[in-house]
């Protein structure tokens, strides 16, 4: 599949009807998703025929893109039932129900989720999925809302536990140095594939400008041999 073709298809992926501020539900655009999954396959061979996990899948933009690029099996996890409902509609519309499973779950241990303390990984849940996938793709919450501090790192850590080969993830560029070090401690090398301007449109009341550009890195983490 050509990149333009993929982006064209992904333009039909339905997105959040009422985005939730607390969950930092910024949609992944077709433009961005097509480039991430196209690069993952054409430059690294990480998608076609692979088992893929999508963490914080939202409405399933990366999930659909992965399936379109030939993933053999995709598991997509999100905490929000409304987002999963739309993801299911997208899966049906794109006729990829034979490839994709949706699961509603939280990557944070229940006693730490939603409170203002430090978030802790839901080890039991993540443990069952440890090293079961080839590749992880994710556009995690950036951890900028109160109570969400560190959630970006927690998502990335979960992805590194589940993926045997590679992880593709989007993070605020300001966290780059920290994440590169973290990745090392998890046994992964970290490479910045692209520096992006994340155009976050005015979806929430606290956004005063029409849209805000955030500097974001597309990271590829690869397991050290």
């Amino acid at each position: 599949m050509k990149l333009k073709q993929l982006e064209g298809y992904l333009g039909d992926v339905a997105t959040f009807r009422e985005p939730k501020v607390q969950l930092e539900q910024y949609p992944t655009t077709a433009h961005l998703a097509s480039r991430i999954l196209y690069t993952a396959e054409s430059s690294f061979g990480d998608i076609d025929g692979k088992a893929v996990i999508d963490l914080g899948c939202g409405c399933g933009m990366l999930t659909v893109a992965a399936a379109m690029m030939g993933a053999k099996s995709v598991l997509s996890i999100d905490v929000d039932a409304d987002a999963l409902e739309i993801a299911q509609e997208n899966i049906d519309d794109f006729e990829i129900a034979d490839t994709v499973d949706l699961v509603r779950a939280s990557l944070c241990a229940e006693e730490t989720a939603g409170c203002n303390g430090e978030l802790v990984l839901n080890e039991h849940l993540v443990g069952g999925m440890k090293a079961k996938f080839d590749t992880a793709v994710l556009n995690p919450p950036f951890g900028t809302k109160p109570g969400n501090k560190g959630i970006d790192v927690l998502f990335l850590q979960a992805a590194c536990l589940m993926a045997r080969d590679a992880v593709y993830s989007l993070h605020k560029s300001s966290t780059r140095e920290f994440l590169v070090k973290k990745a090392q401690t998890w046994g992964f090398d970290c490479e910045v594939l692209a520096e992006l301007k994340f155009d976050v449109p005015m979806m929430y009341k606290f956004h005063k400008k029409k849209s805000v550009d955030i500097a974001v890195d597309l990271l590829r983490l690869s397991r050290k041999k």
Binding site: L23, A51, S73, L75, A81, T99, V103, A105, A131
Partner: protein, 124 residues
């Protein structure tokens, strides 16, 4: 949800820690649907070591589906074996029902094919 995914789902209730009971989750009142999928032998062979075979076998018996007791020596060349595994883990979808933990009896509901692994609504 397909069985390949069920094979990774463990009970994560805080004090439920007996590994022999928290996994696999037992299906209860489930509606199944077979959805045809293209068989990819290379993929299946690669997934075999990642499956928990005893758990898979237990689940297959529960659902009354056939699965060989063990993985043959050369699974990649065993047509009958590959087809049985493919049918069970890739084509069998659980649409409705629930999954129950044998350790703590917690029940995880499955609705419209999506299992809810949240322990309570307040978790989010």
């Amino acid at each position: 949800m397909r069985i390949i995914t069920h094979n990774m789902l463990k009970c994560h209730v805080k004090n439920c820690t007996d590994p022999n009971k928290q996994f696999p989750l037992r299906f209860k009142d489930v509606q199944l649907e077979q959805v045809e999928a293209e068989r990819n032998d290379e993929f299946l062979v690669r997934m075999l070591p990642r499956l928990d075979w005893p758990a898979l076998l237990k689940t297959s018996k529960e659902l009354g589906m056939g699965l060989p007791e063990s993985i043959p020596e050369n699974p990649g060349e065993d047509e009958e074996f590959l087809q049985a595994v493919h049918t069970f883990i890739m084509e069998t979808h659980v649409k409705e029902g629930s999954m129950v933990c044998d350790g703590c009896a917690h029940e995880y509901k499955i609705s419209n094919g999506i299992p809810n692994m949240l322990l309570a609504e307040h978790e989010i």
